[in-house]
Symmetry: C2
Subunit: 465 residues, 2 copies
Amino acid sequence: MPVKRPNGVIQQSFFIHHIMQVSLQINARWIITVDADDSVLHHHALIIDGDKIIDILPQGEATKYSPLNLVEISNHAVVPGFINAHTHAAMSLLKGLADDLPLDEWLNEHIWPAETELADEHFVKDGTELAIAEMIRSGTTCFNDMYFFIDQTALVVSRAGIRANIGIPIIDFPTRWAKDLDEYISKGLAVRDQFNNNKLITFSFSPHAPYTVSDESFKTLQPIMDELGLSMHIHVHETQSEVDDAIEKQGIKPLARLNNLELLSPDLITVHMTALDDDDIKQLATHSVHVVHCPESNLKLASGFCPVLSLFEAGINVALGTDGSASNNDIDMLGEMRTAALLAKGISGKANSLSAHDVLRMATINGAKTLGLNDQIGSIEIGKQADVFAINLKQIETQPVYDVISTLVYSASRSQISDVWVAGKRLLDNHELTTLDESVLLEKAKQWHGKITPFHHPVNKTGVK
Amino acid sequence: MPVKRPNGVIQQSFFIHHIMQVSLQINARWIITVDADDSVLHHHALIIDGDKIIDILPQGEATKYSPLNLVEISNHAVVPGFINAHTHAAMSLLKGLADDLPLDEWLNEHIWPAETELADEHFVKDGTELAIAEMIRSGTTCFNDMYFFIDQTALVVSRAGIRANIGIPIIDFPTRWAKDLDEYISKGLAVRDQFNNNKLITFSFSPHAPYTVSDESFKTLQPIMDELGLSMHIHVHETQSEVDDAIEKQGIKPLARLNNLELLSPDLITVHMTALDDDDIKQLATHSVHVVHCPESNLKLASGFCPVLSLFEAGINVALGTDGSASNNDIDMLGEMRTAALLAKGISGKANSLSAHDVLRMATINGAKTLGLNDQIGSIEIGKQADVFAINLKQIETQPVYDVISTLVYSASRSQISDVWVAGKRLLDNHELTTLDESVLLEKAKQWHGKITPFHHPVNKTGVK
């Protein structure tokens, strides 16, 4: 109620006290919330203060906020930032190095030799920076990484302002990063301690795969995971031959072995999972294990097909990842959603399986669940972190719009993404990176091109004439 | 040898006479020729005069040409324009209208009712224009279309300056375009006569499919095809159920029926072809029939998988098409190449099948062969038409470059395409359309949105929670 001054004049400053100053207001044509009802809001305002979403309301009612920054994007959809649930970010320097080759030749004759020779702290720093630039430009606000020299990864993530879950690498042979299990663990945990104060960075253990990590090593990790509350991020059942080999050599399937080691739990993030039978799926469901589907990498390396529909039917949480750029060859979650939706239809023979809405959940809220961060990110809801992007749909390629989520998944391209915020900070401002220098990154990529070229596979000539 | 004047001074004008004036010189970082050897030329100049490529030579040797227009694109690859071998261009107004639905429901409850009600000459004009804009912006310089109101299609193609093979529609029931076979033929041929002088437009007969066109109709078309030298463009064996239905109802497979009708020939363009056995493939090879693979449409409608590798092994020419935007939902040949390459690896289980080079041939020279235009288009070679596009690869997403064809297919996006020429005419100039007005197209799309929305399928809710 207005307060009258003694002279009867209404005290103007009183009203000002009711207007709340906030850091940012975004007025958008659509807000795709990815809440429990998949609500799409039209002509709403997203109110952000600091790193949090504090309100979502019709634009006409937003007058109670006084934003320091007002962003008017009347042709745009605002979308929860993508969560890329499986990356090897540094490998972006190797994209296109050795394409169209059998998996063994790709890995043993090109990727691994190049990594052995070149993948040092500089490679990780520059490669990860290049990848983060690509991710920000394509709406990814959080990624779940697995690689070496994670001190560099954390440093670059921290400077770029993106969110990441960084895997502490574990593998049963020496690399340039560490000589043995003790060192893999101690160096990894030291980086974790070092970045303890960065709210945008979390850590997992990332054993490479069941076939490169022994029972003993897994048993060493387990109490540390429990003590520190860490999850585990691992490639499992990537191909049928991985499973067959394990049965032949160890008499047990990798997943069953992890079960025996009591590692199946909601803290386990299993990647690829193309070779799964009904028992495997039952086990995953029983223990609430997360699965990360990487359709483009699985196609490119002919690894098999992750049975996404069966996993969902069993109630398992399935997120989406691109894998590293050497086997994709991009880290574009818009494209990955599209491939996931199309592939599931083709493989199942059902055109109504895995809708645009489904894959959008996989790329956002399901990724957040996978990382145990779904109370903070993965949807646009009051109280959550302001990790969002804006995409301009008023373009030849995306008009008319009948269902904005269909348009986003099936018709839009990453180049239409104009703005990206992570924890309320604008990392892409009208297509310009704010925390990374594109020309510096391109210059570094050029330098690496020279060093990496000797590992390039000569022209993969056509078989089609 | 220089000619000396009587006074001993070298005659300058002599040299000038040896410098040839041409309309256009493009200096590019790479020229991807798609010639018989898949040659990639570095730092070469493409010399164009009028509508033709007249020379390709190292930039340092290009001083013998004096171009009216010099285009210096030192970060770009110049590529033969894509040939989209199967489209229903006008349907771009329907993209995203009814996604994630079973094929029958998609077609019978949404697409066909919308078309019956709305697909008139205005729809075709505006939809085709929108599609051509999308095609030019994504490097397509020629498309093979099948739809109604082809007078409008030809008009829009002619104004836009793109190249097209336009299908004269044939179907055994009346539509808004024609009431019976006679009218389908006569109206179609009248349009052909009308655009006789346009060198960029050719025509085929386009019977919709074996199940909607009778033997009698096919028999009527055949002598006309022979007389006028027309090819035939038709959907065949799109799904297994099409084949099963035909066997049940007519006692014969559609392809065998076309063979009985003596229609299998190098003039037959068969689209989709997901349900093929060894005998079918043998027949196709024997008669040099062309096949158009539409991987994204086949995935989206769960139609099955075209056995591309087996077709190539049998020596059959396979081109690439997007199909209409209602079942894709874009007409982006870069994306379609990528999907074709990834899908073939996934389905065959061989990571070295269908390389980037292979799919680039499918999207260019094989498309040209399909249309009988391979002496004119489909590769960058002296004497061919100047149908090319330029793509800027100096971008975060496409650096470093080890094999430029891999980068093009697996990492690049259509938004990187900066310039497009058809028959030497620049249709896209530094990302700007020169013959179409983008704002007018967007305004028309908005108007159609209002009319088409009643046929929209309500939100395709997620099944994933």
